[in-house]
Amino acid sequence: MPRIRVEVDGVTYEDDVEPRLLLVHYLRDRLGKVGTPIGCDTTNCGACTVLFDGMSVKSCSVLAVQADGRGITTVEGLGTDGTNHPMQRAFHEEHALQCGFCTPGMILASIDLLRENADPSEEEIREGLEGNLCRCTGYQNIVRAVRKAADEMRQPAQSEVAP
């Protein structure tokens, strides 16, 4: 079995893993990082989105062995010093979640969206989040939340908060 060394939310792990083990199962079943949920088996829903060296990936379509030597950020690793990331706060303040199952993936995909485009229009947000499905909110408040977080994250004082 291959051995991998991977940093997840600031903690380094070394594990022997089956080559076929999906990253999301490694996170959930081996590391107990159950904040990242699984919503489908065809990489359509995006619920399992994590940041892979800072870029969003669907962790159900990545093998654990591919994460060897990489850094993973899950929703559990966002924010600093006990305060939430601006995107997490914006989701709360704009009521951008109901059941919350898509929320971890939606938040991480949104953070990655702002990494590429710090000031997206509503249409750009909708297009940019096309790979993440939500069944509760109709997306209206998610779009609002991303815009709000974008405004906040562009403020100089807040610019270093993003991972």
């Binding site: 079943d29 904040g35 949920p37 489908c40 509503e122 069944r135 509760c136 109709g138």
Partner: protein, 809 residues
């Protein structure tokens, strides 16, 4: 201090945005084993042999069972709504024993040390099937010559329910206008984002089950009745549940089997479905053929309405399967007055996944039927669709109004909601643009769709359930406990899975008791903690469960009043209660008032207590409503339809809903947004497609098109507030309104855009291909395309496969 009406940010969010969640699949227990199910690849087949020996010998496999292994103890899954006396209810084993009747039906299961080992072992189970004919078309299924889903029943007709009111023949005789239409309510897959998951832990002869369910109380009751294990020996926990939309209002075979596996193996077991597995086996929604006939006067006033529907049961009757379509019986008349009405519903068995509740459950189907017909009637008469509605709807001053179906709508103001919607929508301006585009023969035409809906919510008065032969009760329970420090615990029988009851019930409690919002903790979703309740569905939680909370608070205040009167040495009638404090009327200063926390402390110690009063500030309340509630509203949709490509773009959408008084406008808006998304998705995107052999070809999210943010417009939402008169808070419920109203609004807009070309209907989902074909047919052209058959939705991998394999056996 008023919390009710305030846009409180949700207290649920803190853990959901940080991943500190408790989804059922998160659970790890010592010795936990994993279960995987082998499922039928045939729509209909006899099982002649199941060989599990090879699978059993694989490493990491603890046990492998076929349906036969549980035949004596697995019972039959319950149907709690036998809608007629002579309904046919077939046996429904949780795991198939002799015959499979839909693709995905469980045939065998593996218990292994981890999920990969369990799934691997499925490949080594050898099942011999003798294929039987699939039954996929409802109209064909009802013919004498049809193959049967259940041979022993001798028919595919499950039931036939007829409801009539008024003189229907007279209404139709010599009617100046008669409009007849046939509409399809396609089959939908509810698709809650969290797939189903179940964990069951044995403890001697007692069991704890965690399940991603909307209905922990119903599940416990039914697990007990199906397995014979005492109800008092089963605890059901619904931890964080990731959406339901009716799909988790069910007692699933897998839940029964996990209980039996835990019992047999004496080990905790877990099963989590994959999405592809779920699309085949989570109950589906809708699936009706509607034959509608409306008779009217020349001025548009409705004389009579005849509704004749076929409702696809699928292969078996699950918890509420037969009843869903019959919820349309008192709803097809909508908000309109008429002289006569008839409703005939025929339940039909097919070799497909069973259907059951999906957001709105029977009411979206009915609303679609009547709202489409109102537009057709308007077109027939050359009237504006809103004008036809105005001439028929119940006027504000006519409430309370007893409808043709016998329901009493207690309150409503259709005029106010419509006026508000028209102003927000800029109706006249859009009509002018529409005329201009028609004039210019623009290739992109504009259509305007109207939907003036109502719904019966707050399911349900228990006596009303008895009248329609439902086995369930409709009351809801709450306990309010004031702890010794004055903090408050609220126990509710509702079971939220995204609706925000933790927040909303705390708002109700804070107002009713006069305590800070932060001092209230809401408990739910565990039969040990909240032993009584009927759970969450049918827009019932606030209108019934929220009222139970309110009433329990009132009882607590009355208890506390006795204690305060004793301690303040005043008569109870001389005490005022406000802002969480009792004060003696007309007396100021220290010693003349007492906070609820002080009363609670005095109750805890009970050192100085009134004679005959028990030292407790706890109260229970059970609320059983006398009537349904009737939210209503006006939705307007403007759609641009490209006549060359068939592509539909929603240009603007305005929803004005009247859901009575509002507890939390933030939550209400969210519910409306989500409801709109699902209703629009039915109109434009979603369909569960079966091929002629009964294979579901939309098993994945690549094939079944759940819309993304890019597929949906921004919504304009607003409200009018006409309080319900049937409960003390004046609330009506909001969970289903958006879904119920929006589907016909969108299709009406599409048809409105194309009506000038002779198009009278586009079958849902109105995909570009379907719109394009409808136009070509209206032009008298023979549409060419692959196979020439009606295209399915989606068009993903599975759909393509379905087209190619169709008819090859």
């Amino acid at each position: 201090m008023t919390e009710v009406g305030k846009a409180r940010l949700r207290s649920e969010d803190a853990r959901l945005i940080t991943g500190r969640t408790q989804w059922t699949d998160n659970l790890q227990l010592p010795g936990l084993c994993h279960v995987a199910f082998l499922r039928s690849p045939y729509a209909h087949a006899r099982i002649t042999r199941v060989d599990v020996e090879a699978a059993k010998s694989r490493p990491g496999v603890l046990a492998v069972f076929s349906g036969q292994d549980f035949a004596d103890e697995q019972g039959s899954l319950p149907c709690a709504w036998p809608v007629t006396e002579d309904i046919l209810i077939p046996d429904h084993p949780p795991m198939a024993v002799a015959e499979v009747r839909y693709v995905g039906e469980p045939v065998a299961c593996v218990v292994a040390r981890d999920r990969y080992a369990a799934i691997d072992a499925l490949e080594d189970i050898d099942v011999d099937y003798q294929p039987l004919p699939a039954v996929t078309d409802m109209e064909q299924a009802l013919r004498q010559s049809s193959d049967l889903v259940h041979g022993d029943l001798g028919t595919n007709q499950c039931y036939r329910l007829v409801v009539e009111s008024g003189d229907v023949d007279a209404a139709f005789r010599d009617a100046p206008v008669t409009v007849e239409r046939r509409y399809m309510q396609q089959r939908l897959i509810p698709t809650a984002m969290e797939p189903r998951a179940v964990v069951c832990q044995p403890d001697g002869d007692e069991f704890t089950m965690w399940s991603a369910t909307q209905v922990p109380h119903i599940l416990r009751l039914m697990l007990a009745s199906v397995t014979g294990i005492g109800e008092h020996r089963i605890r059901v926990i619904a931890p964080d549940v990731g959406g339901g939309f009716g799909s988790k209002l069910q007692v699933y075979g897998e839940e029964v089997l996990l209980l039996l596996l835990a019992k047999r193996l004496g080990r905790p077991v877990k099963w989590t479905e994959s999405r592809s597995e779920g699309n085949m086996t989570v109950h589906h929604g809708r699936d009706q053929i509607q034959r509608l006939t409306m008779a009217a006067e020349a001025d548009g006033r409705i004389r009579g309405f005849k509704v004749d529907i076929l409702s696809d049961m699928g292969a078996y009757l699950m918890l509420l399967t037969p009843g869903i379509a019959t919820l349309g019986a008192p709803m097809f008349n909508g908000i309109y007055k008429m002289d006569a009405y008839s409703f005939t519903c025929t339940g039909v068995f097919t070799t497909k996944t069973p259907t059951d509740a999906y957001r709105g459950a029977g009411r979206p189907e009915a609303t679609f039927g009547v709202e489409r017909m109102m537009d057709e009637l308007a077109a027939e008469l050359g009237l504006d669709p809103l004008e036809v509605r105005r001439r028929n709807w119940i006027k504000h001053e006519e409430f309370p109004y007893t409808t043709i179906t016998g329901l009493t709508y207690d309150s409503g103001n259709y005029e106010a909601a419509t006026d508000k919607a028209l102003a927000l929508f800029e109706y006249d301006k859009l009509r002018a643009e529409q005329a201009d585009r028609r004039e210019r023969r623009d290739t992109v035409q504009l259509g305007i769709g109207v939907s003036t809906y109502t719904e019966m919510c707050g399911l349900a008065p228990s006596r009303a359930l008895a009248q329609v032969r439902s086995a369930a009760g409709g009351w809801e329970h709450a306990t309010v406990r004031v702890l010794g420090t004055g903090k408050v615990e609220v126990v509710t029988g509702t079971s939220p899975h995204g609706q925000g009851h933790d927040t909303a019930w705390a708002q109700i409690t804070a107002d009713a008791l006069g305590v800070p919002f932060e001092d209230v903790k809401v408990l739910h979703g565990d039969t040990l903690i909240a032993p009584r309740g009927w759970d969450t569905y049918g827009s019932r939680s606030l209108t019934i469960g929220g009222i139970a909370v309110h009433n329990a608070c009132q009882k607590v205040v009355e208890k506390a009043r006795k204690v305060a009167a004793h301690l303040l040495e005043a008569a109870e009638t001389d005490l005022d209660y406000a802002n969480g404090s009792f004060s003696v009327r007309g007396v100021g200063g220290d010693g003349a008032s007492m906070t609820l926390a002080e009363v609670a402390g005095a109750t805890l110690s009970a050192h100085d207590f009134p004679e005959g009063v028990e030292p407790s500030l706890d109260s229970d309340a059970t609320f059983d409503p006398e009537n349904f509630s009737f939210p209503h509203g006006t939705h307007l949709c403007a759609a641009e339809v490209d006549t060359e490509t068939g592509f539909v773009k929603i240009r603007s959408y305005v929803a004005v809903d009247d859901i009575g008084s509002v507890v939390n406008p933030l939550i209400v808006d969210g519910q409306v947004h989500g409801g709109l998304a699902q209703g629009i998705a039915q109109a434009l995107y979603e369909e569960a497609v079966y091929d002629a052999d009964g294979n579901l070809t939309t098993t994945t999210m690549a094939d079944y098109l759940v819309p993304s943010a890019a597929d949906l417009p921004a919504f304009v939402t607003d409200r009018t507030e006409t309080p319900a008169t049937s409960n003390p808070l004046g609330v009506k419920g909001v969970g289903e309104a958006g879904t119920i109203a929006s589907t016909p609004a969108v299709v009406n807009a599409i048809v409105d855009a194309l009506r000038q070309h002779g198009v009278r209907d586009v079958q849902m989902p109105c995909t570009p291909e379907r719109v394009w074909r409808a136009l070509r047919e209206a032009f008298g052209e023979e549409p060419e395309g692959p196979g020439g058959a009606q295209p399915g939705a989606g068009g993903g991998l599975g759909s393509a496969q379905g087209d190619q394999e169709g008819g090859q056996g």
